[in-house]
Symmetry: C2
Subunit: 362 residues, 2 copies
């Protein structure tokens, strides 16, 4: 038994009701039901309906369940890129999407911003031949975020055929996307949705579907069981081609029910209130500095600070108080800390963390 509160950037604190929902799932033997049964289809439909409502997803969009955001990167390239993809890279995760395109034999080009910086979309020059442009809305590794208003400028920057992919792995459901101005977004459930890991969610519009179908009819391989057409043929009857992570889909539906009850607007407002608490503290701290210099590029959900004391020391000093934060990512492991601010984190928990950091480090 632990009383730890996880402010790590994912896996992170579980949504407060998960434990109770899991107990109910076990009592009702949800782990034993057939993935082709009506009982399962109802569970699947409940999750999908909840997500549609929370994100206000238009009718020309579909929701696909895969196993991780890593998998989305691969499936996106397989299904939506014949030759060329273009990647805005400003950290480890945006870079990984770029590398995956290369590993799958595509011509991938990148436009880089330094770690910890966002992008100036207005100044961006996108090759005309690009079939897919990838932008990480919220870089989990650096805490740099691209405002939705800027993402909305992308459409005018690319040829009319290009698909705009927006990574919201560690920000959803916070960003309020204009789904008419992007073509796909995706996330994993162990960040903003407060679930255990093991499910990736891939949202695609009809343009993504059409592109996959077109590549397939050209005789190109778009993968197998998790190609868009294969996923879609099952998704539209509330199933997956394989036996999916049934428990995760069940829990997702339950959490979405609660999130919808709470309301997307409230969740967004609370996220900003909590983020402000953390940033306000960091701005005045003698030990920490906000890592992302440009205020409009600062993530509201994964907040990164440079630290004078090593991150290991910060983590160690918080441990007796049952508070867990993340170290920096990769090369920044020792010199940065990462604090997640997800819907699962209550205002009181964030306040307690800020007070404790203040007390321990000024």
């Amino acid at each position: 038994m632990t009383n730890k509160i996880y402010f790590t950037p994912g896996p992170s604190e579980l949504y407060p009701t998960i434990s109770a929902h899991m107990a109910t799932a076990m009592a009702n033997k949800i782990g034993s039901i057939s993935h082709r049964s009506q009982q399962f289809k109802d569970i699947y439909a409940h999750a999908v309906t909840g997500l549609r409502q929370l994100l206000q997803l238009p009718a020309n969009w579909d929701i696909l369940f895969v196993s991780s955001a890593n998998e989305v990167w691969e499936r996106a390239i397989q299904n939506n890129v014949e030759k060329e993809s273009f990647h805005l890279v400003n950290g480890s995760f945006s870079k990984r999407f770029y590398e995956i395109s290369l590993e799958l034999g595509r011509k991938a080009t990148k436009h880089e911003a330094p770690f910890g910086q966002g992008f100036s979309i207005a100044d961006l020059d996108v090759p005309k031949s690009t079939e897919l442009i990838a932008v990480v809305q919220n870089e989990t590794s650096s805490g740099a975020s691209t405002p939705v208003a800027d993402i909305n400028l992308l459409r005018a920057k690319v040829n009319s055929e290009a698909l705009i992919y927006v990574d919201a792995v560690s920000s959803a459901p916070y960003p309020e996307f204009d789904f008419n101005l992007i073509d796909s977004t995706y996330f994993s459930v162990q960040k903003g949705f407060g679930l255990p890991a093991g499910l990736g969610i891939w949202l695609v519009n009809d343009r993504c579907v059409a592109k996959a179908v077109a590549l397939k009819s050209k005789g190109l391989s778009i993968g197998s069981f998790h190609s868009i057409p294969s996923l879609l043929s099952k998704a539209r009857t509330y199933q997956n081609p394989e036996t999916p992570n049934v428990l995760a889909i069940y829990l997702l539906g339950k959490v979405l029910e609660e999130m919808n009850h709470h309301g997307a607007a409230t969740i967004r407002q609370e996220t900003e209130t909590k983020a402000k608490l953390i940033y306000d503290y960091l701005a005045t701290s003698q030990n920490f500095d906000i890592a992302v210099a440009e205020p409009t590029h600062r993530s509201q959900t994964t907040i990164i600070a440079n630290t004078k004391v090593s991150s290991a020391e910060v983590i160690k000093k918080l441990a007796p108080f049952d508070m867990v934060i993340g170290s920096g990512y990769g090369n920044y492991k020792d010199t940065q800390i990462r604090i997640a601010n997800f819907p699962a984190h209550s205002l009181a928990q964030v306040q307690a963390l800020v007070y404790k950091l203040q007390e321990l480090f000024n």
Copy 2:
């Protein structure tokens, strides 16, 4: 709350201790820990060590975690087949592996046996150019099984470079493979291991690894985050490239601990005892016939019967007694029933099912 016992062929009855382990996992917040932490590596190592012990896996074999057996089919072709694969097909799942090879642009050929029949390996003619030969040890759709002794004859049938892939999705850990005579085997956890779905386990020997590396150095694409080299580079430090289904790996370790305590030999013996109970009943029943004619090809873990009364009627009549069995697969949905006999099913439960079937249908 339900008292149902699931004899369905997967998802199926969970191992009896799963609910308690899940409660412990929730209390210890296993769903929140970092997938790069020592705590997670210990969980991963515990699962892998337990599986090595149960299966008596030699040192030149590695254990890889993916998301499903469907994914293994795809990764196997991507990583281990440049041009040609050969498939023994005798049901829906063996056929699907064959189709996936085609979907990935390989030349796949098949040797078919009728649904419900096994293979005579001794008479098999395998093309010399085959790089991978796929055999389903236990066809979940038909209940036809290939004895391990026959699988051990395959090596002499193929060229020395060919990799022998054995699907044990719905039979593991029952079959006692000679790991020197095969190159890969795989299964999902929601069958014989009694776990909730959402994890696929792929066992590969050094020959599979070498082949993947060779294809990659030829400049061919072997996938990205879930290529064998990528999985292996993380697996050897007890991690996955992506954030995996952490809870499933935790539960797997716990179940394996108990299975090892019980002993593989005992599990196998109990499986046979329970299977005999079911087959003995089917052989004398006036309503059911054993579907697989050849006794040595009858699965010990997924037992299929032809039924005079429709499968829907059988399922309906068992429902008030909290017993759930599977309908037939695909075209056999109405005319066959499927009864799983996994380690999670106790002798008493199987006995009770047999008595009830006897009472209801003679």
